[in-house]
């Protein structure tokens, strides 16, 4: 079942169209990667989901119902441009934002304590935000996003500003939150995190959705029958089995990219290789999301 259903949403501003008939379905309890180059319309879409702005046309369904005011408390949003009141005390600030999300004072206190202990921030409760390091401010901001245990968490570049240690901490929390039943929409430019974390991926370019689906399915879709070959020795003539795309020295061995021809068997290819070189590895080269991103964006931009 999908938690969030976006149906043919269009949003126009005075001078440009930010979203053009975008439809998406975010499955419940998944991590959904929302990708796209800068200015593609991701932020506009996120703002519509957050009810900061309304679409000009199209529908957004949350748990099967059209978006309404009450849903706001079931959504947590971490914007890309982080912001906190600099002069306010940390504890007070998190409390304020939690209460704006509809938590009672008691509930908020309890949950904030839990998170502060988890992130080892207890001693910072009375400190002003401006006295915190950037990494700590990010942690505080993350807490404000999830403190009300939202069904849907929208994270825009959640790892920016974190050192690897803290980035790991946040990554573990994201996985933990999904385990507990939250759904996470994840907007980022770091393709390696997409590969690592996301279950589903959608790509928006120039206000239009250009790619959408389950992460592995997309990968399959972009397979281009390329194999990576590591060996030592001299590569024999493979023309009857495969096309050699590249072949070069890679530290202590050779690395070649080959594309087997459709008619020949791989078994024949491998035995031919085995006869001539010392084979270290032979594996299909799956496209990375980086490749997929660049390829799709380029193609859709030329249309």
């Amino acid at each position: 079942m999908s938690l969030l259903e976006i149906d043919a949403v269009t949003k126009r501003y005075a001078s440009h169209t930010a979203l053009d008939q975008v439809s998406l379905s975010v499955p419940e309890n998944s991590i959904f990667g929302l990708l796209g180059p800068n200015g593609a319309g991701k932020t506009s879409l996120i703002r519509i989901i957050n009810q900061i702005t309304a679409p000009d046309s199209g529908k957004v369904l949350f748990q099967g119902q059209p978006l309404q005011q009450t849903h706001i408390n079931a959504i947590g949003y971490l914007p890309e441009e982080r912001g906190l009141y600099k002069k306010m005390e940390v504890g007070e600030q998190v409390m304020y934002l939690a209460r704006l999300k509809g938590l009672s004072k008691e509930e908020a206190t309890q949950r904030i304590k839990f998170w502060f202990e988890k992130f080892e921030l207890q001693s910072w409760w009375k400190k002003k935000v401006e006295e915190l390091s950037k990494g700590m401010q990010q942690k505080v901001q993350f807490i404000t996003t999830v403190v009300h245990e939202p069904k849907l968490i929208i994270l825009d570049e959640p790892f920016s500003g974190f050192d690897p240690l803290n980035a790991n901490l946040i990554r573990d929390e994201i996985l933990e939150l999904r385990k507990k039943g939250s759904t996470i929409i994840f907007s980022t430019h770091r393709m390696e995190t997409v590969e690592e974390l996301c279950d589903h991926v959608a790509l928006i370019n120039r206000a239009k959705k250009v790619l959408d689906g389950e992460k592995n399915a997309i990968r399959q879709q972009f397979r281009d029958n390329t194999f990576e070959l590591r060996y030592s020795g001299t590569l024999p003539d493979l023309s009857e089995y495969a096309e050699i795309l590249s072949n070069q020295q890679d530290t202590d061995h050779q690395l070649a990219l080959i594309r087997p021809s459709a008619t020949s068997s791989k078994r024949g290819l491998i035995s031919k290789l085995n006869d001539n070189v010392e084979l270290i590895s032979f594996a299909e080269k799956l496209p990375t999301f980086n490749d997929i991103f660049i390829k799709t964006v380029k193609e859709s931009s030329h249309e």
């Binding site: 900061i52 005011q69 906190l84 704006l100 901001q141 404000t144």
Partner: protein, 440 residues
């Protein structure tokens, strides 16, 4: 609604807990009471008294100069040159030389040599004394006797009354003027001061980028109203604290300064009089102790003035604060706001200038219209209040202001909603007007 209150209470406490608030709250009443107390002290203790030596070579002015609190005269027989030479070593302020050939027919050649130039007040006293002397001399020459002349001279005091609800009431145009002037300036200051706070708050949230987080929890309108109400509550708190503290300081100081005024000498003088005169003199003394301004203020219905002031201030603040919020939303930093502030500061300034004008000329037609038009009405109405404003005019003006407040808040909210999410470029008036019509 609940969320508006949450926002308002944050805005309130953040500001009230600040050091600036405490300082402003303490310094404000000190300034205000200084404004009230200093004139009183001046009346009581006066400035230093000055002594003018009179070198009357004509011999006609033996008793013409009457001493007053601030100016004493000593008629000297010495030559003017000697007096002038001795001036340095004496405490006296100067020497007034009346030439030997001075006569009522030829009143010229009078000179003053002083350490400092004469003040306008001193000069007036001296020339008054001289011209009075000349007048009486001339009249005497015509065969009129001094006592007859004195009997002609009458002091005229006009006691003013204004038409009130219970017939004519005692009033004082001086006090009305002062209260009118003071309260319209206060209104102007308060609107500007707290309106700017709203603008700063909005800009701060925008530059902090926290606005994006907040509007994902509340509607922009709730954020705007919460901020306006919270800061409004701060202003009322400060205002009430000021009133209470000013009253306190004023009462404390005035009870302190009353004591030395009744010196023993005067007391014994009073005691030696008949009971009736004693009473009269005491009453007069009490009357003198109270500064004229306070006496005059008592003739005004101060309670009503304060209530009306508060009503107008709250409405005017709400009206203007929403404009300030809209402007704040349209800029990225405070310095950019100057140009957009133009449409707010101009009507406020016009109101301020009209307020000054109306406080000395309350019957003015322009004053009537300016106290109806919502942009200027809060300030100008304050200038008219002490002179008495018909109830229907008050009600009409207040209703218009309430209507304008709703209209302006609606427009401001539509601008604000778009503005707070626009980063990076300064909006022009044209763009801002477009925002009003934006969807969603």
């Amino acid at each position: 609604m609940n969320k508006i209150m949450l926002i308002a209470s944050r805005e309130y406490w953040v500001r009230v807990k600040k050091k600036q608030f405490l300082i402003m709250t303490m310094v404000g009443p000190l300034l205000f009471s200084a404004l009230m107390v200093i004139p009183m002290l001046l009346v009581l203790y006066g400035s230093d008294s000055h002594t003018v030596l009179v070198a009357d070579q004509s011999g006609q002015f033996n008793d013409a100069f009457k001493d007053s609190k601030k100016l004493n005269f000593e008629v000297k027989k010495e030559a003017p040159e000697a007096l002038k030479a001795g001036l340095d070593s004496l405490e006296d302020t100067g020497v007034l030389v009346i030439p030997a050939d001075f006569s009522p027919q030829n009143p010229s050649g009078i000179q003053y040599f002083g350490k400092n130039p004469l003040s306008a007040d001193q000069e007036m006293r001296i020339s008054d004394a001289i011209s009075e002397k000349i007048d009486s001399e001339r009249l005497a020459l015509k065969g009129l006797d001094k006592s007859f002349i004195d009997s002609l001279h009458t002091e005229v005091n006009i006691q003013t009354f204004k038409m009130g609800e219970k017939g004519f009431e005692d009033s004082s145009s001086g006090a009305s003027n002062a209260v009118a002037f003071g309260s319209s300036i206060l209104m102007y200051m308060f609107i500007l001061l707290y309106g700017m706070q709203v603008l700063k708050g909005v800009v701060e949230e925008k530059t902090n980028r926290i606005v994006e987080v907040i509007v994902s929890s509340v509607k922009p309108f709730q954020l705007m109203m919460g901020k306006i109400l919270g800061i409004g509550a701060v202003s009322l708190t400060q205002f009430l604290l000021w009133i209470v503290l000013s009253m306190g300081i004023f009462t404390a100081v005035s009870s302190l300064v009353k004591v030395p005024e009744t010196t023993k000498e005067e007391l014994s003088m009073v005691q030696s009089m008949t009971p009736e005169t004693q009473k009269a003199v005491e009453a007069q003394m009490v009357d003198q102790t109270k500064p004229a301004m306070m006496k005059a203020i008592e003739t005004l219905d101060l309670g009503k003035n304060v209530v009306v002031f508060l009503i107008y201030f709250i409405l005017a603040y709400l009206f203007y604060a929403s404009i300030f919020a809209a402007i704040g939303s349209a800029v990225d930093n405070e310095t950019d706001s100057q140009q957009l502030l133009f449409p707010v500061t101009v009507p406020l300034l016009i109101g301020y200038l009209l307020g000054i004008m109306v406080s000395s000329d309350p019957g003015n037609q322009v004053g009537f219209w300016a106290s109806m038009i919502p942009l200027t009405s809060p300030i100008v109405m304050m200038a008219r209040m002490p002179y008495g404003v018909p109830t229907w005019e008050l009600l009409l003006s207040i209703s218009l202001l309430i209507g304008a407040f709703f209209g302006m808040t609606w427009i401001a909210a539509r601008i604000y909603r778009v503005g707070i999410l626009m980063y990076g470029k300064k909006a022009t008036f044209k763009e801002i007007f477009k925002w009003i019509t934006y969807q969603g």
